[in-house]
Symmetry: C2
Subunit: 553 residues, 2 copies
């Protein structure tokens, strides 16, 4: 296998642990804090988790290790989309496990949670794991999207654990996976399997965040990778001075990625889905908002710019959601056949015009034809519109173009407008983890093992005080039930970890809102450049602007 | 202005000069070599360049500076598309100029060659130029695509130079711009203006390359940026194991970028336009070639992969060029109106079927409908098909999908195929220059001033032996006429610098060809990661695989 020189160099990197974990396994003791309550719906959550609810928050400290010596056989699972640093969680877990007892064993279940159900695994050794230290990707064992949520699955999982003598499972995943980790922990406890379950907070989307999770791992590296590219494009825009670049970034349900990239690069425009929803903005209003910047810049001789569009933004536009709902109704079941039989787009358009409410038809009518056709022609196997396929960066650039044509006709705009489009997502999910993510993930894994060794279950591996240097980080654990509330999902009340959307009253958004008017008109671009792993600490070891603003005193 | 921490750190970087230029201006002397001949068409080129043809190659050496003390007023121009390192050419030029004589002046003509014609300029000082050291972009003075090629333009340029007392012009550009630099130098010499002209070789495309230009600046940084992203996507593909990624990279007329990225990342597939042309490959053959890899990998349980597609590849497919030509004929002039008046796509299709030759119709028929419609519906103001708008990454993934459907029906293929698409171009043109490009560009600029100071004109700033450490680089100059031949352009014989295509007999392609069968079937991905500016020299200071293979003994 051919290795890049960076990959070889990264093997030599020693991830930084929180200070309290640096004195060796024998010198890590536990300090228990107060008993916890879920953030809402306490009675309901308590009833659902009789064996794991209300446990104490715990912190590790320097002190004599009082855990019971016992051979540990741990299984680890990567769940869901890739995030930089996943390999280091596994490495930290492995190193703590082996440092505690050479006889301890780490199983890796392959291709996500299904590996546990299918009993598809590998057993880690030094030679294998050393190839993955400080590297990106989830290829160490693969990942998958199977959800571990039914009693039947839990029973199979219990059997597999029993077969291998597994004492604990570590699930590395997002909000759903950690919710499921808590449910599995409760099942294992209720059934006296003796198997513990620990979760680790992963997602590049940044929406797994609360008072106990300062940042999910991968968010730092992914946003730095996107910001590198957006900064490069800004510099290109500012050099060529002839294009508006519409840059879509990953993030279906929250705009943390877009906002962090905007804080890093200071583009002319950044849409924030949560604000669009809160202000009930229409597509036309959004297009006008962008067109205002294009016009103002053009008046200053700058026929170029950069706009960041969060992937999921159209789903937050109320009138658009209504339109989608109506289209789904209009084509439900057999009605789709009648529609498909219409020979021309003009016939189809007439059918649509008759079928939609006047309000939705008004929304539909202003969409570019390409998007109109996509909404009707590309549907999923259930006949539903595939909202995720909508190229919102092209939708908005086309609508802005139309707005500008109107303004030109009205004589208020005289500039030139040429748009280019980009989508950044897959580029960032498997980058070599930044030093921050390398350190944070290794610490999460190391810490996860300490929670296992001290007998905890249903806990999330928690590392905090993350805007300080690693030496000052605080390592510990928090019952996952503490982060839960009851939400309606697919017609059922479910205990879930609350998804963190961008808070419009939070410091990151407020900082953005205070500056964006200037950014929209002037050229205030900042060029972050590529992630650096070596060199000055202010270049290599600083995490996100979002976290810095959130933790600003 | 807000600066990123990397930008601040990069200001501190001292670009490395060739060893022979490191002893200070007073210790640089000239060694003249042999008189030169153009690479072809010597008599014709000589006749066109009576004043600048046949001059000697020169090399700089350590030794007493014998140039005539004279106040120099130099104008610099950035021409064409951005390439990382352009700012450093200007910085090197400025530093040598000021080190020679504090009274020397550097003008920057704005927005490309038109700045010289419009007398639109700035005068550099330390404070201004220091903001741009070791940064990407051309925003220091802007760039533009105006060509300096007519006598009328030259006369205006001479006037502007006279007005400011300009003694020399440095043109930083690609093959066309350097050709024009030579023509301008000849004009200035023939008219006894006393103004010298020096060229510097820029282009991320890598096609400005010959025995005197080992590499054009920007190619190193741009391909490293694309390779970072392709490597990240490979790692994502190998983790998720469910997508084929089709990655288009910049490069209209040559595939150097695609080939270098392939050497860096070892993808499953990389098309090389020059090979497609040489083998007269059809679209169907190319699609089958890719589908073979998809099928073979699928048989090994790997329903994922990465294919690199050079931006201009379809223009190298002979049958496709014929088709485009026929479409342009079919819609020429008034015929387009009749076509546009046809109400439905079915009517239009019938019209097309009647108008194309059977051979071209066969090619047209296998194209995905989206591409078919694009060819007919999106034409430029002259009615011509806009080949550059064709999304070749989507064209090939769609054709591969169709091939696989046929194979599935025939029972030879049983896998799953889901494709994702990417285009990388603008992301790399303005990245912070790699250490190599920082050093190389600074040296080109420094060296350009030494050529001016020693009275040369019509020369290209030449720095060679570039696969060795900078201390061993060789600095000098080469008459641009030496690189010229006569080519037919727009119906006229023109003296031009020959464009360098990928040589199918060259080491880089041969290395690729020797390995690609293995790469197509196995997973041999290499993950280069982000460009590093600090850290181990083998990570930070190595230039391209292409150059290493070309200069391999």
């Amino acid at each position: 296998m051919e290795l890049s020189s960076l990959q070889k160099a990264r093997y030599q990197y020693n991830p930084k642990l929180p200070g309290m974990l640096r004195n060796g396994i024998a010198e890590i003791c536990v300090k228990e804090g107060l008993e916890t309550q879920s953030v809402a719906d306490q009675e309901k959550i308590k009833a659902l988790f009789p064996n794991t609810y209300g446990k104490k928050e715990i912190t590790f400290e320097k002190g004599a290790n009082t855990s019971t010596p016992k051979k540990q056989v741990v299984g680890v699972i990567l769940s869901g989309g890739q995030a930089p640093g996943g390999h280091n969680v596994v490495c930290g877990l492995y190193d703590a496990l082996k440092a505690t007892n050479k006889e301890n064993v780490l199983y890796g279940f392959k291709k996500g949670p299904s590996g546990l159900l299918d009993d598809d695994y590998l057993i880690f050794d030094d030679e294998y794991i050393n190839q993955f230290r400080n590297t990106g990707g989830f290829d160490i064992i693969g990942s998958g999207r199977t959800k571990l949520e039914t009693k039947e699955q839990f029973a199979v999982a219990a059997e597999v654990c029993k077969k291998h003598g597994i004492t604990a499972i570590v699930i590395i995943g997002g909000d759903d996976s950690n919710t499921n980790a808590a449910v599995l922990a409760e099942y294992f406890a209720a059934n006296n399997t003796g198997v513990q379950v620990i979760g680790c907070p992963k997602t590049i989307d940044g929406d797994l965040k609360n008072e106990d999770i300062e940042i999910s791992f991968g968010f730092d590296t992914a946003t730095k990778t996107y910001s590198e590219l957006i900064g490069n494009i800004e510099r290109d825009a500012n050099s060529a001075k002839k294009y508006w670049h519409f840059v879509k970034v990953m993030g279906r349900s929250a705009s943390h990625v877009a906002l962090e990239c905007a804080l890093e690069t200071q583009p002319n425009i950044c849409l924030v889905s949560e604000e669009v929803a809160a202000k009930k903005m229409s597509l036309s209003e959004i297009a006008d908002y962008i067109a205002d910047s294009v016009e103002a810049r053009s008046n200053n001789g700058m026929n170029f710019g950069v706009a960041i569009i969060p992937e999921g933004v159209v789903e937050f536009v109320p009138e658009f959601s209504v339109l989608i709902h109506e289209i789904n109704e209009l084509l439900a079941g057999a009605k789709a056949e009648a529609f498909n039989a219409l020979p021309t787009w003009a016939d189809k358009y007439a059918f649509i015009e008759k079928g939609l409410t006047p309000e939705s038809m008004a929304v539909f009518a202003i969409l570019p034809q390409g998007i109109q056709q996509q909404l009707f022609l590309e549907r999923d196997p259930h006949g539903n519109v595939q909202v995720s396929l909508i190229e919102s960066e092209k939708l908005f650039s086309e609508m802005v173009k139309n707005k500008l044509a109107e303004r030109k006709a009205a004589g208020t705009y005289k500039g030139k407008f040429s748009a280019l489009h980009h989508f950044f997502g897959y580029e960032g999910r498997c980058a070599f983890p930044s030093n921050f993510d390398s350190d944070y993930c290794y610490s999460l894994g190391y810490n996860a093992f300490m929670l296992i060794q001290y007998g905890y279950t249903g806990y999330l591996s928690k590392v905090s005080n993350l805007s300080a240097p690693a030496a000052q980080w605080v390592a510990g654990g928090m019952p996952i039930t503490k982060m839960m509330n009851i939400e309606r999902r697919h017609g059922e009340d479910k205990p879930v970890i609350r998804k963190a959307l961008v808070e419009l009253e939070g410091n990151p958004f407020k900082y953005f809102a205070a500056h964006r008017e200037q950014w929209a008109v002037e050229t205030c671009y900042t060029y972050p450049g590529a992630i650096q792993y070596y060199g000055p600490t202010e270049v290599c070891d600083i995490t996100t602007k979002t976290l810095a603003l959130e933790q600003a005193k």
